[in-house]
Symmetry: C2
Subunit: 340 residues, 2 copies
């Protein structure tokens, strides 16, 4: 099954197999950017507590964070490390070592247990939000060490594998990079020794898992329709174009119109795919390609569009088409991609 997914991903530029190891292709690179940015949004920008991003030195970031927060918990550090962590077994398929995304939140001992419960709930929501089959994401039992530290794993239950996608930790004792003095913080007026809660993700494993999660081959008119059900926030391309006309002069005109609409959408930072094949291949061939690229919506321009300005917006998931006037497309498409 994994082989099937990788074959599709190679064909569509998500991945590239060289000497039995995977490289990230151009479409996969965009998907990886989107995954990384969603992580940043979730972990750094949209947290209730202040979380600081660390690229170069964890201890420096910690000291800055502690200072600017006047030693008051809670605060956190989101850290990006290039590391060969063997924990995530999907990583071993990749040629290059993965980026490890690790968030550590320092909390007061009085609220740490409650915080860890909430943390688990938030992490569950995150994985299920982006998944095409949310029920597959399961938490392992809580492992408690003799020193009171707890660990938990998030795994995905495929019929053919059960890869680890995230590990969570709850620590009451020393931090590997911090001194006892570092962990000495304020909670209201008291001085306490901070507990800390972690989340660890591998970007490469997350990329491969996102592709496996999105892969589907439902029956369609008696044949399997292979597609990637990528979440619309993650899809590398949000919109693609298909032109259908019988006369070549009309095809050319519709091609220019597609280019015009594409530029409009791109100005709004909506990643759009306009290929020369949009005016050359049959619609069935194009649906095939766009479905396998995981493009959520395709704008269809036909002879009618030149007369009444109405385009069709085809959904990848339902294969249904909706009429939208081309002047309304930019705002309508923005609306479609606004929410999660």
């Amino acid at each position: 099954m994994l082989k099937k997914v990788i074959e599709l991903c190679e064909r569509q530029g998500f991945l590239k197999c060289v000497n039995e190891k995977l490289l990230v292709g151009p479409v996969g690179a965009l998907l990886q950017e989107n995954l990384y940015n969603e992580w940043i949004y979730n972990m750094v920008i949209s947290r209730d507590t202040s979380v600081f991003l660390s690229k170069d030195s964890f201890v420096n970031a910690f000291e800055y964070a502690k200072g600017i927060c006047q030693e008051r918990v809670p605060f956190g550090i989101a850290q990006v490390i290039t590391d060969n962590n063997d924990q995530f077994h999907f990583d071993k398929h990749f040629e290059n070592s993965s980026m490890i995304l690790q968030t550590t939140v320092f909390v007061s001992p009085t609220s740490s247990t409650q915080f860890f419960h909430q943390w688990q709930k938030q992490r569950r929501t995150w994985w299920r939000k982006f998944s095409a089959s949310p029920g597959k994401y399961v938490f392992s039992d809580l492992q408690t060490n003799p020193d009171g530290n707890q660990q938990l794993e998030v795994k995905v239950e495929y019929s053919w594998d059960k890869p680890l996608v995230e590990s969570l930790g709850f620590y009451k004792t020393n931090h590997p990079h911090l001194t006892f003095d570092h962990l000495n913080v304020r909670d209201g007026r008291k001085k306490v020794s901070a507990h800390y809660i972690t989340s660890t993700i591998s970007l490469s494993s997350m990329l491969l898992n996102t592709l496996c999660d999105a892969y589907d081959e439902p029956d369609f008119q008696g044949k399997p329709r292979v597609l990637l059900r990528l979440h619309r926030k993650l899809a590398p391309y949000k919109i693609s174009f298909a032109v259908t006309a019988t006369q070549s002069s009309i095809t050319d005109e519709l091609g220019s119109l597609a280019l015009y609409i594409c530029k409009q959408l791109r100005t709004e930072h909506i990643s759009s795919l306009l290929l020369p094949s949009a005016v050359r291949n049959t619609l069935d061939l194009q649906w095939n390609q766009y479905d396998q690229l995981g493009v959520p919506f395709t704008v269809v321009l036909n002879e009618g569009t030149l007369k009444n300005g109405i385009s069709l917006l085809r959904s990848r998931d339902t294969t249904l088409k909706e009429q939208v006037h081309i002047t309304k497309l930019p705002t309508y498409v923005q609306q479609l991609f606004k929410n999660y």
Copy 2:
């Protein structure tokens, strides 16, 4: 002067000096993320031509791009390389080797000269758009090699240095990583050998230059007011909070209100800074800190806010305050940060 900028940046967590080399601090890491994302938007998402992102292998990305574009130019590759390129002399201040961001667009020989002119104009606009003093960005004279290739440099004219921030190239002959066959493409119905146009930027140099560009110390009430005039799209924190009240019970209430508004803004993906010092330090101390962090706007909550719901929105650049009702803040702030 550079020393002055670096001192400020160390104090505010943008950079960290260790053994006379710079590391990127937590605030600088956010700024770097924003610079990188603006580059992606400009080079990959919002281009008129299709540009593909390459992380692992340039040749693979090129072959995929050529295939999916049915060998038709123009198309481009935006590439991220970790490299010790000595070209950018700001890079030598950094401990770690910089990420080099290089875009290559392959074009037809018949339109390549015009494309290169447009490319120069677009690059000039990009630098000036984000700059606090756009006039400083100058293009060197065009250098033409014997084989017809052309090169151009974008430099910034500070009184104390003239760092290189980007180099542009226009090549008519072989590409270092591609074969002659690779460059054989279609232009309409003709087969031609593609020309290519490049842009090369170093992310570390761009980070340090952005900070130097933003640094300013205008006179304010007889004293120099040190601040970073970071463009609002680049600023690591878009909004900060200041609470001012005489009674501690009211301060607490306003503190909770600030937390509530902050959570609202963060849900909208607006990077907001809420520090414990917001309720403890004097306003002057807070303006100092927020100005030096380059935060464009600060929400001020005072005793009146509890009565009539009106907050003040202080602008970093003008130091003027505007009245905004707290229920209107999220949409108003979104509007402020929407455009360039």
